[in-house]
Every structure is written in structure tokens, then in C-alpha cells.
Symmetry: C3
Subunit: 352 residues, 3 copies
């Protein structure tokens, strides 16, 4: 698995990590995460240098992690500070540590050259901390390649079919209602891909109606931005003369392996921010959890299973796929510049 | 997996397919099956050309199937008739369709060149519709190569050991009763292999005795015919001066993958055809289901698991294996003529 | 999987084998075990020569095993003595038989050239039959390579961490109590590796205290011997002015596959040998079963899973690893002399 390097990959929700060590395989590398007594996150290779036992089975004492198997101890930099019954530990007993930063309710790990890590490069999710907004966070595990998960979000048209009974607009179906107009624009600049998609006068699903107390047709505006490694910021606006609500979704895909993905998201709303009566955080969490785990993930996993039956495949894109196309085009450039082998998920949509 | 082409492969029992799409992988190809409003069966590749989502997750409307992911629509020929928010769909958005015919209570798919498909080549199971006979149908899923399932039926002698307590004859066991005589003849002609095997004056198992109300020893006559791709027609006659009953079994093996098989069968009887009192259809279904899923399939799956532990193996055939030998010889010819790589299941019994 | 040959591998606890056939894959070879009417053990390849069905699904009659599939019969030497409906069986219908001996409550199979099998080479476990001692036997199945299981026992220091709350000494932990002195000696001679490790004045876990009625600190002496293929004899002595008890552990690792191991052990005590009041055999069995299945095996399996994430790894040994090092050095010689490919588990600790 070749991955884009020198980028921050999301490794965990903030609340998943505590003084008790937690194992997660990130970018194919087993990592152990824990929090120091001062509350700072630590990310180490989850493998004792001695005999490769997972350190995550051990305990953290005085901010150091003790291997449960034979008592080796490592500090937060990965240095080995104790080997039982001997004085000192050679430098080659050290294990890898990874720059890790808590930001926006998430933990970000730098994958690449640690010397190049730069907090300024952490993706901006500042709306999650805006005074008039309110976020919830969810973690999903997906049995599919991370790009298939990303493409799901990039092809926002799926909301009208897969989510037609929840928060899609039900528009564009053959023989069904068509929007008064559909606008779709995409632009790539500064290594990011932006898109704007507006459907006018559409009927949205019951969930979306409930959020804004809508009874009539409305305009549905998706403003999205993709950035590496595979992060999608979505701003969904629903507006008519009854109400105007805005929901930010950040979807952050981190590869575990070629065929499995850690999928983190927040849903940050500008309605119901008092968190009393509908919708509370719990309502928003449950709605998103049930739609994504019940509609998106089964579809993506079925798509992966189908792809695995074939030696090779080509996509047949629609005009509505401009955003997927633009992102894949950028990924092809990024992979080529980094001298990495293009993964099949991106090759499938590229030039023959 | 290389398979014999330009043949009808059984894909489903008739009653398995309805207006609601059903997925099944046939010959390594994901297929979706559904019934039109007029009651005709449709078989399409179960993969949207857009991004490879299974169409079987979608819905059939006006005889067309709608992809649940992004709303592409395909008609029963595989042509793409709708891509949301755009006019027209290019011809390269089409997916494969497969000739499919309902015959003898089963659905048959043509695997190969569609232009060569010919209903006249559907195997003859006309006894299932004979006025004085009565069929039941069963579907089994087997974790073994389809040839191992077929060989089970071709080596009919297994009935005397594996099924000695149900419908075998218990004859030929070391130290046990021997039949008064055993006749075995096989002939190959016109691409089919016929066999005749008669055991005289044997004691059959309790199930077989119950079917015919037999209390005494009887003659047990198996008349079989094998035809491609891997279909075995068995006519089992049990006869003495008390009764004469006849049971037709059609065993139809369709590969899902190299190591998994769809196994369809009918059991068509000339006794109890009034379907009141013993045996009813339900009795015959339950007896066959329990013997095959409880005795045959565990043995075949254990055989496959054993074979998988070895790099290569050779069979050591008995004289009674003439039918297996004849069928494998014919298969070697069929594979050679079609320029296909011989599967290990047939190579194992052939010339070194 | 290349393995050292011409050695006795433990295949089963004595009580696991009876007149009813039992299947177990030993050294990658499916074997069926049964006991003759005279009580002697038989080991055959668990594969009918006819079509490779497991013989273990069949029955033993008159000390011969009958294949359930088509009635072939094999005697205890592997000769085929019956093929139904034909006279005689050719010699090529024979299957492999393996020299097998019951000794010390265990069944030992000779893996290699049967002509070289020699009962005198069966490992010595004579303490299990000493009049003042009392053994119990346990079988474990481990999802890890056999060498990882052996290394667990060879690096006896793990007891002080992994088993600190059961029978370890809790000594040597960073910031914890240190023994008054630690002695470690190893010697290799005659193809066996011996070690002696003594910790003075340590606090042992509650289990070990309970065995000997200890209330104070004590000396903990491990005397071990490793011999091929992968057998470790441990003598654990716990002694102070209150008591002196001795526990023999024999740990016997037999590969099933590269990544799965049959792990047999006895625990033979010189205390509570009256088997009334604490500890009874059941107490000793339960304590060992719970510690090994609850502490050792999860650690070893997690270690294997971690190793599998990497292409290659090197161990970083501690000074306390002298015994592992000596055994691996001897294994490298044994593999080289036998012209076998060194398994990665031993390569990882060897010269670069």
C-alpha cells in the first residue's frame, strides 16, 4: 500500500484516547495511542522492539508504556528506557514515534518525515468551534478501500437515490420529479478541489424536513472542498421562505489497509444548538449513524466486494461526476509527483 | 476459472426469482435476476457500469432496474436508459445481459456467445412434467468445487456406505452382505455418458423401504446419464414382488467459484403422487434435504478441505468408478477442444 | 513448511485417542488416530487413496478403518484390504502410516523416515511417573507459529510481567522491586540446551504462594532443558525457610501449519500428591489452563498478528535472552545440516 506522505492523517476521535493504551492500525502501521498525565496525546509504533508484542496490551506508568510480555519500557519518543535485569538499553531498541496533535476534537498523526511535520498543515475545521454551531463526532470502520469511501461523498448525487427516504432530495430519478434547475461547478486550486452544486425547488427527505421544520419545496446547496490525503468538507444548506439551515459535514478517511478504512466525521449544525428538545446532539448522532451505517457503508462494501470479483474494471462516469473526476485527476498528479504507484481505485477512472 | 462455454447453466429454482432483484454469482460472474411484469426472467450483470455497485441492491420499476447508488437505469437487455441530470447515455454505459429461459421449474442462463444460445439445447427433464409423476426442488450451496459434487453422484456406490442407514443398500461392505450380482455398464455417445448399475437381492435402508412399503430384499437399479456442463440424471428403480417404484433425481451443478458450487436438484417420484398421506412433497423434500445436507455435503466439503492441504494428488480408482472415469475422459476432450486449462479435479484422474 | 525430520512429534494426549477415529493435522499432514482392540495406537494419513475423503469420518472395525464415502478399508499399516465389489486392491491404494508410540501419557509420532524410528529417542519425561509426583495434562490450540510458542517458554523472564498476578515473581519491573540477585546460566551440549535461572528473595504471585503455603519472600529457581523438535522441560523450584516445592512443566510444541500449533503440556507436582484438599488435579489443571489460555496464548497470538503486518523484522534481544539465543543458534545449525530453509521465526534473531 503506497500512500501520500508528509500529511496529517486522522487517527482517532479525541475521546477515544485516554491513559489506557489503544491500538489502531493507521496506514498499515500498528500504532498505540495514549494520553500523558498532562493530557497530551502520544502515538508510538504498537510493537515492542524486543519480540514484536503489541505494547497496547501493556500499561502506561508515568507517561511511559510498559510491554506486558517481558517488561521493556518506552517513553513517548519511542526510546527504550528500561530492559529488566540489565543496565541501560541500546539505541537500537527504540521504536518509531509519530507526531500527533489534537485539533478540532480529533487526533491527527503525521505520516511521513517527522522533521517536516507542521501543525499549520492540519486541515481547517474551525466551524466545529464556531459559537453559533454545535458538532457531534462519529467513527465508522469500513471494509472497503478509503477512496471508495471518499468517492461516495464526492459524488453527492448519491443522496438523491441512496438517501431518498432520509435526507436526499429524491430528484433526478427516472420518471420522478426533476429540480427546476441543477447547477454544478468545480474548481481546483492550491491543491484543493472545490465544488458547488445547487438543486432548485426539490422535495427533500423527512429527516431534512424535520431539521428545518420545512413543509414546502426548497433549494438544496452543497458546497464542498476536498483536500489531501482524503478529506471532504461539505456544507449543506437547505433554504426556502420558511427557514435557512446549514449543516457542515467533515468526512475524513484514513486507510487501515488496502481494503479497510477508518472513517471519521463530524456533523456541525447551526440549528438546535441549545441542545434541548429536537434536535439534540444525540438525535443528530443517531440520525447520521443510522443513515451512514445503514445506507452508505453497506453500499460501499458491496461495491468493493463486486470490484474484487474482477481483474480490472473501468468506470463509466456521468456528467455529474465532475467532482470525482477532478479529485482523481489531482490524485494522479500527486501520486506521480511523489513517485508512488497509482492505486486501482484511481487508475480505474483515469486515461486508458 | 475456465469453464465450458456455450451451454445452459442452471442459475436458480424458478420460485427463487421474483420482481425483487436477486443476486447470485454464476460462473464467477455476479448476476442479478428478476422477473418482468409479464413474468419473464431477466439476467443482467450485477454491476452498475458507473461505479460497480451491485444493481441487486436497487429496485425494478417498469421492468427496468434502477441502481440505488446514483440512479442509473438499465433495461432488460443491459442498455443504460437513464443517467440522472443528463440527456441520454452512451452505449458504453451498457452492461452485460445473459440469455435466460425458464424450463422444468428451473432458470437456465446461457454462458458463452449469446448469439449461439439455443433453447433446444436446454437439458431434458421432461419427467418432471409427466402426468403420473410429481417433482420437488431443492437448492444447496456447497463449499467445494462443482466437479467434486458431480463425482459424488457419478460414483453411485457411495450410497451403500454414506447412505447405508437412509436409502443405500448396505451392500459391498467388507464383512457385510454382498448382492447376488452386480451389473455395471457405461456408454458414451453424442457427448453424453450413460450408465446402468443393478444390484440384485439387496437390503435397502429404511427410507427406501418406506417409500415402496418393501419388507423384503429387492433389486436396486440405477440408470444415469451425465451431460455437460455438469448435469446428472438419475433414475432409481426399486423392485421386487411387493412393489416397483421409480424415483428420478436430476442433480445440476453450477460453479460459483473454483471452490463453491450452486447445487440444484429435483426429486420426481411415481409414488404418493396424490400428495396426501405419506409421502407428501414435504416428506420427500425433508428426506432429501436432510440426507444430502447431512451426509453428502459434509463429506464433499471435508474432501475438498483435505485436497487443499496437498500440492497435488492422484486418485486411485476402483473398478466401480467406470462412470467417473468415462465422464472425466469426456471432460478432458471437451476442455482440450475448447482450448481450456483442465481443472485439477479432472486432471487428478487422468493420464500422468 | 520445512520441518526437522526423524524426530518424535507429540500428536495427542493419551486420553484423546480411542477406538473412535480422531483427525489432527500434524506437521501439515492430515492424520487419523485410533486405538486397536488391544489398546495400541495407530496413526494413518487421514486421506482415502480413492478420492481423498478423510478416513476419520469412517469407522474402525476389527482394527481396520473403513472409509465412509465408498467403503475402501485400510489396515493399521495403511494397506488397502478391501475395495467394494472387486477382488483385491493394488499396492498403490495404500496410504501412509506413521510410527506411533504411547509414552508418558502422550502419543508420539515419528516424522521422517519410518525405518529410522527409534523408541529410545522419545524425550524423557520420567518425572511424570515418579512415585512422589503427580502429573496433569493439557492440550492447547494456538493460532501462532510453534517457535513463538516455544520462545515464550524459553524467555522465562516473561513470568515476572505477563504472570505477575498469578505465578510470576513481579521482579525486575521498572520502578519495582528487584531481586537480591539474579543468576542465569546456559549450556548447550549433546544437541540440547540447558539453562539455570535463580532469583533470590522475590515476592511471587498469589498462586505460587498458595501452592507452597508461602507467606514470605523466597528464591525462585528455573532449571530448563530444550530439545528438538521443540520441547521444553521446566523445573520450577520455590524455596525459603517455610517450604520447598517443585513443579515440573513439559511444554511440547507440534506444528499444525506455519501459523498454527498443537501445544501439549504436563504439570507434575511434588506437593498435594494425595489429591485431596487443595491442590487437587482439578485445581492444578484449572490454574494452568486459565493462566496459559488467558495470559500466554493471547499474547503469543497478538505477537503473531503483529509480525504478520510487516514484511520482515529483527528482534532486539535483551541479555536475559541468552536461552532463546542459544536455542535459535542450535536450530540454525540443525536446519543448515538438514538442508532446510530456515523459518522466519529463527531467521529474525540470527546474524544479518
Amino acid at each position: 500500500m503506497q500512500l501520500l506522505e508528509n500529511l496529517w492523517y486522522c487517527a482517532a476521535l479525541k475521546d477515544e484516547v485516554s491513559a489506557k493504551p489503544m491500538r489502531r492500525v493507521i496506514c498499515g502501521m500498528p500504532m498505540v495511542f495514549y494520553q500523558t498525565e498532562a493530557g497530551e496525546p502520544v502515538a508510538l509504533e504498537d510493537r515492542c522492539s524486543h519480540r514484536h508484542a503489541p505494547l497496547s496490551l501493556g500499561n502506561v506508568i508515568d507517561d511511559e508504556i510498559h510491554c506486558l510480555y517481558h517488561g521493556y519500557v518506552f517513553d513517548r519518543t519511542g526510546s527504550c528506557t528500561h530492559i529488566p535485569h540489565q543496565k541501560g538499553a541500546s539505541a537500537n531498541a527504540a521504536i518509531r514515534s509519530f507526531p500527533i496533535v489534537e485539533r478540532w476534537g480529533l487526533l491527527w498523526v503525521w505520516w511521513g518525515d517527522a522533521a517536516k511535520s507542521d501543525r499549520a498543515l492540519i486541515p481547517d475545521l474551525s466551524w466545529t468551534e464556531a459559537p453559533d454551531k454545535r458538532p457531534i463526532y462519529i467513527y465508522f470502520y469500513v471494509n472497503a478501500n478509503h477512496q471508495l469511501v471518499a468517492d461516495n461523498l464526492l459524488d453527492v448525487s448519491h443522496a438523491d437515490y441512496l438517501h431518498s427516504s432520509t435526507f436526499g432530495s429524491n430528484s433526478g430519478q427516472k420518471g420522478g420529479a426533476q429540480p427546476d434547475s441543477m447547477t454544478m461547478e468545480t474548481t481546483t486550486s492550491d491543491g484543493k478541489v472545490n465544488s458547488y452544486r445547487k438543486l432548485e425547488n426539490v422535495t427533500v427527505g423527512p429527516l431534512a424536513r424535520k431539521w428545518g421544520g420545512f413543509t414546502k419545496e426548497l433549494d438544496r446547496v452543497n458546497t464542498q472542498m476536498w483536500e489531501p490525503p482524503n478529506i471532504i468538507h461539505v456544507q449543506l444548506e437547505l433554504v426556502n421562505d420558511e427557514n435557512h439551515i446549514c449543516l457542515n459535514h467533515d468526512h475524513i478517511m484514513t486507510p487501515e489497509t488496502d481494503k479497510t478504512t477508518h472513517y471519521f466525521m463530524d456533523a456541525t449544525r447551526d440549528f438546535g444548538v441549545e441542545n434541548v428538545g429536537y434536535p439534540t446532539d444525540e438525535d443528530i448522532y443517531n440520525e447520521h449513524y443510522s443513515v451512514i451505517s445503514g445506507e452508505d457503508i453497506p453500499m460501499i462494501e458491496a461495491q468493493q466486494a463486486n470490484i474484487d470479483l474482477y481483474d480490472s474494471l473501468r468506470d463509466v462516469p456521468a456528467k455529474a461526476d465532475r467532482l470525482v473526476d477532478d479529485v482523481h485527476r489531482l490524485l494522479r498528479d500527486l501520486y506521480a509527483n511523489a513517485n508512488l504507484t497509482l492505486p486501482p481505485e484511481v487508475r480505474r477512472t483515469g486515461p486508458v
